[in-house]
Structure formats: structure tokens, C-alpha cells
Amino acid sequence: MKLNDGLIGLLLIAFSVALLVHAASFPDMPGQGFGPSVLPSLVAAGLIVCSLVMILRALRASPRHALVEWDEWVSDPRLVFAFASVIAAVAFYIAFSEWLGYLIAAPLALLVVLLACGVRLRASVPLALLVSAGIHYVFYGMLKVALPWGLLVEYAW
């Protein structure tokens, strides 16, 4: 998805104004005439200047670019589904890994991503299990990262 630069500029200006308003509520450092609001305000000012230039250039461009240019993949339902399922798989892991435990949540998430990338189910299932176990071995076993056990806590080692 490619947005017109002018549109991006407008969005950035709206964002910068909100930023300026919010930053104005930061307290100054004691005894100084400035504080934590300086950098965010400078950033907002910079963004507004850049956005104005972007809008100006977009208006002058000929031929004008469409407001939104959709990429080829957006018209292929299979690819849109694949894109969405990769994001959903990671979101699923974020939401449920604590409760389900790594050893349940990770293979499930990985399976979805493998299928989304076009690996056949027959190969995906063993691959998801093996890779998840391998990563568990490296991070939990060797690097001592506290990957969650969740439902499997009774079997924790």
C-alpha cells in the first residue's frame, strides 16, 4: 500500500499538532526555563516543516499520484490471507504464550506461518514441532531464558 506523499504529510501534521499539545503539558526542570518538552516539540516542528514540503511537492507533481496505490498482492486473496495470518500468529503468541506455555503456543504459531508461506501441511507439522523444540533447547536450556511453561508447568524441567 503506497499512500500519496501529500496524504502522509497531512497525517504527520495532525500527529505533530497532537504531539505539541501533549508535550506542552510536561513540567519544566526545576530552576530552568526548559525541560522534557524541548525535544518532542523540536521533533514536532521538524515534522511539520517536512510535511509541508511533502504536501507542496505532491501538489506540484504531474501527473498527480493517486491518494492510495494498492500493491499487486492486495488483489490476491491468498497473499492477503497469508500476510494477515503471519501477523495473527505472532499476536496469538503474544496473547496466549503465558497461559498456554511456549511449548504449546510456539509450535501452533509457527505452524500457521509455515502454512501461510506455502509449506505443505505434511512438512509443516514436524517442522513446527522440531524447530520449536530446537529453539527451546537453545534459549531455555543453554541461555537460561525463562520461556513460559503455562499449562505444562507440572512437567517443567
Partner: protein, 496 residues
């Protein structure tokens, strides 16, 4: 002297040597696969290095990236697809040579002159960094303020072909750096009541998202995996003829390494830009510029040396000032801070043995490149057999656990996911990622030195120019800012 001996013993540790070997093989593999970059290799490596002592952690990054930048040449020559962006400048040239039956010569040249460029760049690093550090010891917040500002400026003007969008990226990076309580007044900014954000946005998950997850997303929507057909599968002696090349193009090799190192040392400009510029320079000064583009080795020799020289050069400002020379050293600086090896001139005073050990690793990695690189060329057909559609999901799984591992919180995986999706859309809309990363790394340093200087200056802006080095740095910075306007006026005069 004592610390040099200590440094050798640090590197000679079997554990460190093992890490170097493993990271090298990993780097060769990642670089050799089109679509996976050296920066991505670093981002994937960092969650693992997090659990290592400082010397092996930095050694892993140094050896992995050196190998990845070389092995990016292999698919360039055999598939006409650069393995990493740093090889893009001469991919067509290298592929034309393969088509002419000179695959061995061009692959060997990539290998040998990558190693030479890396070694010469390291020599500059080893001599320049301590000398610069001596000078930098006297720096006050004013000098650092200008230095950081100059670094940020370079990132926008030199490192990106679209300065305006690069500037927007940079500003967004600076803004991301302001999240949390890490500011002069310890006021919680943009935390929206979340405890997870009080300490700021974790750098490593952000990095992993921007450089690895975005790449996975790009792969998922790339309609179908094209079948990759190698232009040549078996290779003879790739070292044959390299000595003759060295005698034929000594100046080009030297120039490529020097230009590469210098460009690498500029903040924000890394190996890919070094290769493009060196290729152009090589063509300009060549006795036979008309042969460029038809399968001529000269440009490959010069820019192949340049991109590896740039890797070493990027560490000069990173170690001495804490200002990254490219996105790889930006990640490395994050690692240095986590390991308590805070970059800055005092790093040469406080733990010199660690720094010398890093230097030794640089030499070692570039020498190790010769045998391991040869192996990668010989086994390339097998490397390419690994199906990318299975590899990408595995990388994603690794990213999730890696992002989690830094703080043991699922919140960081969310940071990674959002960063990945954001980077995916930013790239599609022409906003470069490197300036954003630089903004995140330099944001806190910029704010701290700005605040300190403002307090010291007591409201007088002249104070920013009172110390001689600060004044010079300030002048250069302002000149770079004004240069686009000056150029435009000049052009108009010429036309008018």
C-alpha cells in the same frame, strides 16, 4: 603492552574462538541467501550475544557481518541477485563475468579483495580510533552536542537518496527515543500509563522487528518463490589469477579500501553506499571505462574492497564517540551498553584489553574469511537448497523468542511486531529505516548534551561556538544544512 597480551589471551579462549567460527558460518549463510541482509544477521544474533561476556558478544557481531558482506557477492555473481544490498553495486558486472565463463575469477576477486579491504579498514580503525579518543577526552557537552547533530545530519544528507523522507524517519526515531523516564527531568513521557514503557522502548526488539520481521512480511507477500537457477554449479580454483589482479590494480584496491573506510566512518552511510560510490570512482578513473558493465573485473575489485572496508570504518565513530557509522554498529552500540562496555573515549582507558581484543577479532575474521568463504562458494548449490519459504517462518519464530529474551516480557514481542509492520509500510512508501535507527540510538545522547549545554550556556547561544572544536563542528554542521539551498541557487545562476 600488558593489555595487548591480555587481549590476545581473551581472544585465544576456545569459547571465544568457537563463537567466532559459529557466527562466521551463520554470517556466510545469511549473506548468501538473497533477501537476508547483514543487518538482519546482526539483529538475529543480538538476542544470543546478550547472554555472552562482552568480548565474544562483539566478536560474534564483527565476524558475522564481515562474512555476510562477502557472501552477498556469491548470489550476485551466480543468480544476478545481490545477497545483501552491499553487493548490489556490482551485481550486473559480476553476473556478466559469470556468463563469460569467468565465475571463478569474479568470485575469487570478491573473496580476496573483501578480505584485503577489511584488513586495510581495520588498520585504519586500529590507528585512528585511539588517536581520536585522545582528542575526544577533552570534549565537553558542547562538542558532543555538535558531533551528535553532525552525525544525525550526515545520516539524512549523505546516507539517503531522499533526504526529506530520511529526515522524517530520523525525527520519528528521535521521538521513539523520548519514550519513558530516561530524560533530564525523569518525567514519564508518552508512556500512556503503561509500566512497560517507563524504561523506554526496548532497542533490541525494535531492531529485530525493523530488520527481520519486516523482511519476513515482504517475503510473504512476494507472489511466488521464483525458482533460482544457478549460472554455474561447479567451480575450479577461485584463487587462480588473483595475484595478477593485485599487481594490475594496486591503486584501485587501496583507493577502494580507503574510500570505503571513510564512508563507513560517516554516520549512517554503510557498506552499500561505499560500494556504489567506489564503483563510480573506479569507472571514472579507469583507463578503460567503456568496459564497465560488460563483465569487467576492475570495478568489482575496487568496490568489493570498499564494502568490507566500510564495515571496519563504521566502528571508528561507534567506539570513540558512541555515534554509529551504519545500522550494524547502531545495533552493536546497543550491545556495548548492555555489556557495560560503554562506548566513548574512556573505553580506551577503562578496559583497553577489551578494545584490543575486538581489534584482534577484526583481523582474525578477515583472515578467516578466505578459507570459510571458499567453503561457502564450493557449497553454494547446497546452501541454496534450503527452501526460503520454510526458512522465513523459522526466522520469525527465532525473532519472537529473541525479542522476549531481553527482558522476559511478551510486551517486547508486541514492540517487535509493531516495528516490523511499521518498517514494512515505511519502506513501501520510500521512508528509509537506517535514519530512524540512528535517531533512536542518538536521541538520548543528543538530549542529554543539549540540556547540559543549555544549562552551562545560561541562555547564551554563543556559548555553543566558544570552544574552538565546538565552533568548527558547529560550522561544518550548519554548512551541510545550508548546502542544498546553496547548490540550488548556484544551479539557477548557471541556468539563468
Amino acid at each position: 603492552m600488558e593489555s595487548i597480551a591480555l587481549a590476545f589471551s581473551l581472544v585465544a579462549d576456545p569459547y571465544v574462538l568457537g563463537v567466532i567460527l559459529a557466527a562466521s558460518l551463520f554470517g556466510l549463510f545469511v549473506g548468501a541467501i538473497p533477501g537476508l541482509t547483514a543487518t538482519m544477521a546482526t539483529a538475529l544474533l543480538v538476542p544470543v550475544t546478550f547472554f555472552m561476556p562482552p568480548v565474544p558478544a562483539v566478536a560474534a557481531i564483527v565476524s558475522c557481518t564481515a562474512m555476510a558482506i562477502f557472501s552477498g557477492d556469491i548470489p550476485g555473481a551466480l543468480l544476478r541477485m545481490p545477497g545483501t544490498p552491499a553487493s548490489a553495486a556490482y551485481t550486473d558486472e559480476a553476473y556478466s563475468m559469470t556468463r563469460k565463463g569467468q565465475a571463478e575469477l569474479v568470485l575469487g576477486a570478491g573473496l580476496v579483495f573483501s578480505a584485503i579491504g577489511g584488513l586495510l579498514g581495520t588498520l585504519v580503525l586500529v590507528t585512528a580510533a585511539p588517536a581520536l579518543a585522545e582528542v575526544a577526552l577533552n570534549f565537553s557537552s558542547f562538542e558532543y552536542f555538535w558531533l551528535v547533530l553532525l552525525g544525525l545530519t550526515c545520516a539524512v544528507f549523505i546516507a539517503s537518496d531522499r533526504p526529506l523522507k530520511g529526515f522524517v524517519s530520523l525525527l520519528l526515531g528521535l521521538l521513539l527515543a523520548t519514550v519513558g523516564m530516561n530524560n533530564p527531568a525523569a518525567h514519564p513521557r508518552f508512556t500512556f500509563g503503561s509500566d512497560n514503557l517507563l524504561g523506554g522502548i526496548s532497542f533490541i526488539p525494535l531492531m529485530v522487528g525493523m530488520f527481520a520481521v519486516s523482511e519476513v512480511l515482504r517475503f510473504v507477500v512476494a507472489s511466488s518463490e521464483s525458482r533460482l537457477t544457478l549460472a554455474q554449479e561447479r567451480f575450479g580454483n577461485v584463487f587462480a589469477g588473483q595475484w595478477a589482479l593485485m599487481r594490475k590494480y594496486p591503486l584501485a584496491i587501496f583507493r577502494g579500501s580507503a574510500v570505503g573506510t571513510a564512508i563507513g566512518a560517516l554516520p549512517g552511510a554503510g557498506a552499500d553506499i561505499a560500494a556504489w560510490i567506489s564503483y563510480a570512482i573506479s569507472k571514472k578513473f579507469s583507463k578503460t571505462p567503456e568496459k564497465f558493465g560488460t563483465g569487467h573485473i576492475e570495478g568489482v575489485v575496487e568496490s568489493g574492497a570498499a564494502n568490507n572496508g566500510a564495515l571496519s570504518g563504521a566502528w571508528i565513530p561507534a567506539l570513540v564517540f558512541g555515534i554509529p557509522g551504519d545500522s550494524i554498529t547502531a545495533i552493536a552500540i546497543g550491545v556495548l551498553y548492555m555489556k557495560g562496555m560503554n562506548p566513548g573515549p574512556t573505553i580506551f582507558l577503562n578496559n583497553p584489553e577489551n578494545i584490543y581484543a575486538v581489534f584482534i577479532v577484526f583481523f582474525l575474521a578477515n583472515l578467516l574469511m578466505l578459507p570459510l568463504g571458499l567453503l561457502a562458494i564450493k557449497l553454494y548449490k547446497q546452501i541454496l537448497r534450503v527452501p526460503r519459504r520454510a526458512l522465513m517462518p523459522v526466522i520469525l519464530a527465532f525473532c519472537m523468542v529473541g525479542a522476549f529474551a531481553i527482558n522476559n516480557t511478551a510486551f517486547d514481542i508486541a514492540v517487535m511486531l509493531v516495528a516490523g509492520v511499521a518498517a514494512f509500510f515505511m519502506e513501501r512508501n520510500g521512508f528509509p529505516i537506517a535514519p530512524l535507527i540512528l535517531g533512536v540510538v542518538l536521541g538520548p545522547m543528543f538530549e542529554e548534551n543539549f540540556a547540559t549545554s543549555l544549562i552551562k550556556a545560561e541562555g547564551s547561544w554563543l556559548a555553543f561556538f566558544e570552544r574552538p572544536i565546538a565552533a568548527a563542528l558547529g560550522l561544518v554542521t550548519v554548512t551541510v544544512w545550508l548546502s542544498p539551498f546553496a547548490l540550488r541557487i548556484l544551479r539557477r545562476r548557471q541556468h539563468g
